[in-house]
Structures are given as C-alpha cells and as structure tokens.
C-alpha cells in the first residue's frame, strides 16, 4: 500500500478484514492442523501483544510491592498500579479513582458487595431481586447472604425469547426490596438488558442496583454515571486483559458506609491490638498485595480497546451477530436459543441429533473453539428445558470468515453423525 492511501483504510475496514488478529499472538496457531477459529471470547477473550508486553515490562523493570515503599521500584510499581486505576475510571466514566476497587474478577466484586453492603444493610424479611438470566456468580452470593440473614431472594422472570419480563418488575419491587442485581448482558443468551430503565425504576423506590458487566465491558461503551447504577462489576480477562484482575465500581457514598470484607495489610489506617481504623475506599477493600501486574495489563488492554474505539467494535460485532444468525439458521435442524430483539455478540444454539458436547469435540477437530454446556446459568437451561447449549461468542478479532468456518464445521458434524 502506498503512503497516503493508508488513511483511506478505516478502522471498520480493518475490523471487517480481521487485521486486528495480527495483534494477538495466540490466534496465529493451528489446532488440529486447521487455523484456530476462536469463538469463545464470552468465556475469556485473548490478549493482544501490548497487554503481554506491559506485564513483561513491569516484571522486567518496575516490580516491587505497591504503596508505602520509598525506593524507586516501589514508587514505579505504585505509580503504574494507580495509573491503571485511572485508566479504569476513565474507561467507565467513574467520577473518581476512589470509586474503583481492584478485585480478582466479577465474581469477587459481587461477593464483596453481597458480603459487605448486603450483609450490613439487609435485615430479616428484606428482599434481593435478581433475574432469571443471571450467571451463577450473580445468584449464589446473594443466596448465601440471604440465607444467613433471613432475607428473601426474588427473581424477575424471562420470556421465551430470553428477554426480561419488565412488565413484572414493578410487582417484584416491593417495599422490602433493598438490592437489585442484574446482568447487563446475558452470558448464556446474549440478551442486552435495559439496565438504565431498571435502575430508574429501582431508584424511584430507593433501591440500590448492582450491574454485572462481565459480558458488556468488551461490547458496549460503559458510562456508570449515565447508567446511574450503584455498583458495576467486570473482569479484566473478558476485555482482552489478564485473568486475576477485575473491578468493582461503587458509588462513593455507598462505599464509604460499607465495612471491609477482608482484613490485612493496605486496608487499614491505624492498627493497635485494641482497635483498627480502616482506610478509605478503595483501599479499604484491597487487603493484601494486589494483582499489580494484572492491573497494569488491564490498563494496557483498556488503552488498546479505546484506541480502536468501542463504538466501532460494537458496530463490527453487530454485523457479525447478524451474519452468524442468518448463516446458522440455514443449517438444517439448528435452533437458536435466545432470540431477544437486542442482543450482543453471542449465539447459543442446539443442533438436532447432536448433543452440544459432541459438537464441541467435533468442531474442535476443525480448529473451531466454541463452548458447550450450561454456561454457569443452569436456571436459564431449566427455563428452556434443555441440559446445555453450544455457544459461539465473538470478539473484535473475529470475522465473517470465522463464522463460515463454524458453519462448515457444523455441516461436517452432521455428516459424521449421519444426519
């Protein structure tokens, strides 16, 4: 390409052509002597070289423990760690870095809120409202705290398309409801939930809302102030960052009133054997040495995504979803589970005559990585009276060619099974 024409190739063109695959070393391999087609980003996305480099550079040059150290390395580590917190705050438009708590992942973020805010605010007879679309991570922590306190867990149902029954929301928001916990996007079906609307109706009754953003963080621009949610949780590894790092965003006034949930170093102000006073948020909730390299890696991932532009990634993935839905529907016996009007880059499906687990194995032999199972959303499977689904989920590096490979592999599976 001649200099000067490069600018004519837009980011959208580069997304469509799969040019960004080159940034991901893991995608340059073959599986089963076939080029790897990775369609499991909903479980975990792959990491661009810049993320791997940021973590390597940190360990090669800057590592020490964060906070309180006066030597050079500790100052560098602290600076890089806190800079990552700033990047997170900017990425989700949090009012301040003080609202950003680093945790291990979405699961830990929800457990933190359930055990700190939930356990200190809920009383016997109070209610927590979740939805029928939740991942186990947004069910079990609430079940555990409700059981401990004698509170009641209530569930907003879904319809046959896999959409929340908003018509039942007002009936389920009672005078005893204290917390609503809802997924932004369903991991099992891809349904995008109208969380802003849910927040508005909950807030009208003074009910606090937690949004599980594990699936939305790589697919949609998140603005926690526009959403007006009280808590927003996500994992770094779903947004092209490392595992072992995640974020709890909390409204500062709520974080201030929450007791710590783990004790140790870094979360204290003064310790004597008689009494300990706690640090302010976010450090109050970060006992012990944090995942420093992972936080730095997450910062690099957010920079990478921002440079491409989440609006463009979302538009690209929308095109992928439309193409996948059309192409998959042409496979005989294929039934898509989850047909919400508003969906993200996830397609769950069943193929008549072939169990999802068999499909997973056969597709893997074709180099196509999908997920098969209940996707940690067993109540969703129970609702549809199915044991499992096969699920293809897309990321910024996927292309329509990848979907063609998926469809070709499905035809091969049918042939193998004599269908």
């Amino acid at each position: 390409m001649q200099a000067g024409t490069a600018s004519l190739v837009t980011t959208m063109d580069r997304l469509a052509s799969g040019a960004f695959k080159a940034d991901f070393p893991i995608l340059q391999q073959q599986v089963g002597n076939k080029p790897l087609v990775y369609l499991d980003s909903g479980a975990s996305s792959q990491k661009p070289q810049v993320v791997i480099d940021a973590m390597t550079k940190y360990y090669c040059h800057d590592h020490s423990n964060v906070h309180r150290g006066v030597h050079t390395l500790s100052q560098r580590a602290t600076h890089a760690y806190e800079q990552a917190r700033q990047k997170v705050a900017d990425f989700i438009n949090a009012p301040s870095t003080d609202d950003v708590v680093f945790v291990r992942g979405t699961t830990e973020a929800i457990n933190l809120v359930a055990n700190s805010y939930g356990a200190s605010q809920l009383q016997a007879g109070d209610e927590v409202l979740i939805t029928a679309l939740e991942h186990h991570a947004n069910i079990v922590p609430w079940q555990m705290v409700c059981e401990r306190i004698g509170a009641r867990l209530r569930v907003l149902p879904i319809n046959d398309c896999g959409e929340l029954r908003l018509d039942q929301l007002d009936a389920l928001l009672s005078s005893r409801t204290r917390i609503v916990a809802v997924a932004h996007i369903s991991n099992a079906l891809g349904t995008v939930n109208p969380v802003a609307q849910i927040v508005e109706r909950a807030h009208a009754l003074g009910v606090v809302v937690l949004v599980d953003g594990a699936q939305s963080i790589p697919h949609a621009k998140i603005d926690v102030q526009a959403l007006d949610c009280d808590f927003f949780c996500f994992s770094g590894h779903k947004v092209y960052g490392p595992t072992g790092i995640g974020v709890l965003y909390g409204r500062q006034s709520l974080l201030q009133q929450m007791p710590p949930w783990q004790g140790g170093g870094d979360m204290i102000r003064v310790v004597t054997f008689e009494k300990t006073t706690y640090a302010d948020p976010p450090l109050r909730f970060e006992a012990g040495t944090p995942d420093i390299a992972e936080a730095i890696g997450l910062g690099a991932a957010l920079d990478y995504v921002s440079a491409i532009g989440l609006d463009k990634i979302a538009a690209h993935e929308k095109a992928l979803l439309e193409y996948a839905t059309a192409q998959l529907s042409s496979v005989p016996g294929l039934r898509i589970i989850g047909t919400a009007a508003h969906k993200a880059a996830v397609v769950s499906f069943l193929l008549k005559g072939i169990h999802p687990h068999d499909l997973g194995t056969i597709l893997d032999a074709e180099g196509v990585a999908i997920r098969a199972g209940h996707h940690c959303a067993m109540p969703v499977m129970q609702f549809f009276s199915i044991p499992a689904t096969a699920r293809a989920s897309f990321g910024l590096y996927n292309t329509m060619t990848d979907i063609d490979a998926l469809v070709a592999a499905l035809h091969k599976a049918r042939k193998l099974f004599g269908l």
């Binding site: 169990h355 999802p356 997973g360 194995t361 056969i362 032999a365 199972g373 067993m378 193998l416 004599g418």
Partner: protein, 148 residues
Amino acid sequence: MNDLRELYQEVIFDHNRHPRNFGKLEGATHEADGYNPLCGDRLHLYLILDNDKCVERVTFEGEGCAISTASASLLTEALQGRSEAEARALLQDVVAMATGNVVNTDALGKLSVLSGVQEFPARVKCATLAWHTLESALDQNDTAVTTE
C-alpha cells in the same frame, strides 16, 4: 478426523440412536443417579440383582451426549447375567481403559469402543459416568455420584 472416527465409531452411533434397556425398571434392588455437572449429562441406573447377587436386569434413564448415552447402553448389555464381583471388575477395567491405562481390550469385547476417549481428555468423564454410577448403585450409595 482420524481420532474423531476412533471416538465416534459406528457402535457408539448405534447405541446413541437406539439405546438398549432404556427406561425405568420396576422392582429394582439397586439404583443410583449419575451427574456430570460439566456438560449437564444426567442418568439414572436401575439394577435387579437376584439371590445369588447376579445381575438379572439392568436399565437406565437420562439424557446426555452420544458418548455417555452409548456408554450407558453398552453397560446394560455387558452386565446382563454377570455376578456383582464380575460387574465391579468390569467397571474398573472400563474406567482404566478410558483413562488411558493399559488393559486387555480384547477381554472387554464391544466395550473396547470406549477406548477412543483416551485421546479426548475432556470427554473421559462422558464415557465413565455410567460406570461410576454403577459403582454407586452397587454400593447402595444414596447420594448422586458426580464426575466432578
């Protein structure tokens, strides 16, 4: 595709499409639930052992992938008329074979088709679910066996 053909042999397809001894068994002397939480496979095994502790009848119910369904179906055929001690020895051989340990596959007869899972570590649990459930039934263990 060669490994896939090893895994999905015609016998597997046949037993997946037409599971033998499928259904509830009235008057079972032994029964147990098996569950693979990884993929959601569930099965229930029914056995009637006669006074000499020999398998008089064995059936299963449930749903699962081709491997777990075929494995359960093959189990019901293989167990017919065997003593409890023989059944226990057989299940140890099948589990050993599925996990890649050297066993005399000739002695296993038709069950040797299950050896294909050796090359697919993620699928070993599918092949062994019915056999672990058999052990639980013979032990008269009331809690559902899981592969986790």
